[in-house]
């Protein structure tokens, strides 16, 4: 019999409907995998009872002939940045330890309403700030992948959605939610040989997602196939009056319109994404990707995004600035931790609470943000960054006059060992060099695995599309998926 935990979301959905297996069998299979994978530290909270309850509801609905939701019978993992009513939500921080939301985020609510079940809350970088999952208060997530050198170095699953990426590649869940502010879906997907899409800014409601940088934050799915991502994204997207930046647009039928025929499409290759010293294996993978898209019928053109080199510094002004404002809400009064030294007044309580509740990277970003927004420096840093952001977005607009989509690497390297880059914040920030520009411009972008490098670790490609054109992004990714034939999976050691 097929191992149910090896199935994709589409296979689970269709097999459940066809009566090949029950939803309960699927949920039990994934619950067992989750329980046996403590070594990966992918989950902060496990909720096997919720996965079973949703499965039983799906089995009952099927037995009585009720209409089944789009995700009936499918258990998923939920990044612990989404507020889940009655289940602790921490953003992987000490600050929110013990916080049990009294409401549900819009995106998670849509997934449950579609019949999905929750396997648990997935670990992440604290407040989604990090690229390796090492900033979590609940410990680093370990990638299930290992180098083929015989050593057992613990590798980073990427960040900030590292619990999601680790859990999916280890078959602890068939899919999960992620959020992406500067690459937090795409870089972890690339590190673990799975795929994930950040949709156009405004597609998915931000209501109930712990805020990091509001002008950049977007939710999106992560899974093993392009089809699975399309299925989840359809459920997660849609207008929400509770989010002032939500787009009031109908959700396209991305799954039904999947097609890997790219005839008539032009693929832009931005020359600025191939700097001197680009990792040779990443560069070679990119060349292979170009050939795959040509094979699918696309025409390839070179384009220029001249302000690319300024994207990261722009991001590291704008994101900390917004974070310093958003995280001002953690004051020890309304929710979360409170640290009240003996005899302390209100101001002392704020400062002590925040010193104890935030980790070093979160403090660093709040302080950078406070500085660039402070009197006398606001124009030189923040206004200048907003202007450069406009130029970066204009670069993309001009490039899209010559092409329909862009193909680039996702990350500048394969996964690295835990601890390897922690000492130098700047070296860690450079991980997002290829993902941040599309975030600043609000564009849909998808990471897709391409193959393994010489060390046996996954490396992948990124497809960036025009605003609201997720379909072309998914279709080009599907063309790559079909040609890459990526079937590698980590050997089970955990």
């Amino acid at each position: 019999m097929t191992n149910l935990t090896d199935l994709t979301v589409a296979e689970i959905r269709d097999g459940f409907r066809a009566g090949d297996f029950s939803a309960r069998e699927v949920a039990e299979g994934f619950n067992a995998n989750v329980a046996a994978a403590k070594a990966l530290n992918a989950f902060i909270v496990e909720t096997p009872e919720k996965a079973l309850a949703a499965a039983d509801a799906a089995d009952k609905a099927k037995a009585t002939g009720e209409t089944l939701g789009a995700l009936a019978g499918v258990p998923i993992g939920m990044k612990d940045l989404f507020c889940t009513e009655g289940t602790q939500t921490t953003a992987a921080s000490h600050m929110l330890e013990g916080f049990v939301p009294t409401y549900e985020s819009t995106v998670s609510g849509k997934l449950w309403a579609a019949g999905a079940g929750m396997l648990g809350k997935l670990n992440l970088d604290q407040f989604a700030m990090g690229s390796s999952n090492e900033t979590s208060y609940y410990g680093s997530v370990i990638s299930p992948w290992r180098r083929n050198d015989g050593g057992n170095a613990a590798l980073a699953p990427g960040g900030s959605s590292g619990g999601s990426s680790s859990a999916i590649s280890a078959r602890l869940c068939p899919a999960a939610t992620g959020t992406d502010t500067g690459g937090s879906i795409r870089q972890p997907a690339a590190f673990t040989g799975i795929s994930g899409i950040k949709p156009t800014y405004g597609r998915c409601s931000r209501f109930g997602i712990v805020a990091f940088a509001s002008s950049l934050d977007q939710a999106g799915p992560m899974a093993r196939t392009v089809r699975d991502n399309a299925i989840l994204l359809e459920t997660m997207s849609g207008f929400d009056p509770k989010d002032s930046t939500s787009l009031d647009l109908a959700v396209p039928q991305w799954e039904a319109n999947l097609s890997s025929d790219l005839k008539g499409k032009k693929v832009g290759i931005p020359k600025e994404y191939r700097p001197d010293g680009l990792n040779a294996e990443i560069s070679a993978m990119w060349d292979r990707g170009i050939e795959w898209l040509k094979d699918a019928g696309a025409e390839v053109v070179e384009v220029s995004l001249p302000h690319t080199q300024y994207a990261l510094p722009t991001y590291y002004i704008i994101a900390p600035a917004e974070a310093s404002s958003n995280l001002a809400r953690y004051d020890g009064v309304r929710y979360g931790q409170r640290d009240l030294p003996d005899g302390a007044g209100l101001q002392d309580m704020y400062a002590a609470t925040r010193a104890a509740g935030f980790g070093p990277e979160v403090k660093r970003r709040i302080m950078i943000g406070t500085y660039v927004l402070s009197a006398g420096f606001y124009d030189a840093y923040y206004t200048q960054a907003q202007k450069v952001r406009a130029l970066i977005a204009r670069d993309f607009e001009l490039a899209f006059e010559k092409c329909d989509l862009l193909l680039t690497p996702t990350a500048p390297s394969a996964s690295f060992a835990l601890g390897e880059k922690q000492a130098d914040p700047l070296a860690m920030y450079l991980n997002d060099v290829f993902t941040v520009p599309a975030s600043l411009a609000g564009l849909p972008a998808m990471a897709i695995p391409g193959g393994l490098d010489a060390a046996g670790l996954p490396i992948g490609l990124q497809v960036i599309g025009k605003a609201l054109d997720e379909q072309t992004v998914l279709n080009a990714s599907l063309a790559i998926e079909e040609r890459a034939g990526f079937t590698a999976r980590p050997d089970k050691w955990w």
């Binding site: 013990g98 049990v100 939301p101 009294t102 800014y201 405004g202 002008s215 009056p241 002032s244 930046t245 787009l247 009031d248 302000h307 300024y310 510094p313 590291y316 002004i317 310093s324 004051d331 020890g332 009064v333 309304r334 929710y335 931790q337 409170r338 302390a344 007044g345 209100l346 101001q347 002392d348 704020y350 400062a351 002590a352 925040r354 010193a355 935030f358 403090k363 660093r364 709040i366 302080m367 950078i368 406070t370 500085y371 660039v372 402070s374 840093y381 206004t383 200048q384 960054a385 907003q386 202007k387 450069v388 952001r389 406009a390 130029l391 977005a393 914040p425 700047l426 609000g442 609201l468």
Partner: protein
């Protein structure tokens, strides 16, 4: 421009994060490194460019000015570190 120990302490105070002297000392080179790196933005010619505040064109929605929720006091207070008599409680602010 580079920041010194006094500036780090001022930023920490504005951020409402208490720091020890040793922590503040350690942050001086760290923050200078990052700020020195982002300063390269100064070399970009932005003449005539409007600062970007919204990436995807969207319109400001207005809704009818009516009450749409409420009566959730206990839910609002449910996660408070200290709630008393239906209020958030904090240390004494005024002597």
């Amino acid at each position: 421009m580079s920041i010194d120990l006094q500036t780090v302490k001022k930023i920490a105070s504005l951020s409402r994060i208490s720091v020890t002297d040793a922590e503040a000392e350690a942050m001086v080179p760290e923050l200078n490194n990052i700020l020195g790196w982002v300063e390269q933005l100064g070399e970009v010619d932005v003449t005539g460019v409007e600062p970007m505040t919204a990436v995807i064109p969207n319109h400001q929605r207005l809704r009818d000015d009516v009450i749409t929720d409420g009566n959730v006091r206990d839910k609002v207070l449910a996660n408070a570190p200290q709630a008393e008599h239906g209020f958030f409680a904090v240390p004494k602010v005024i002597e």
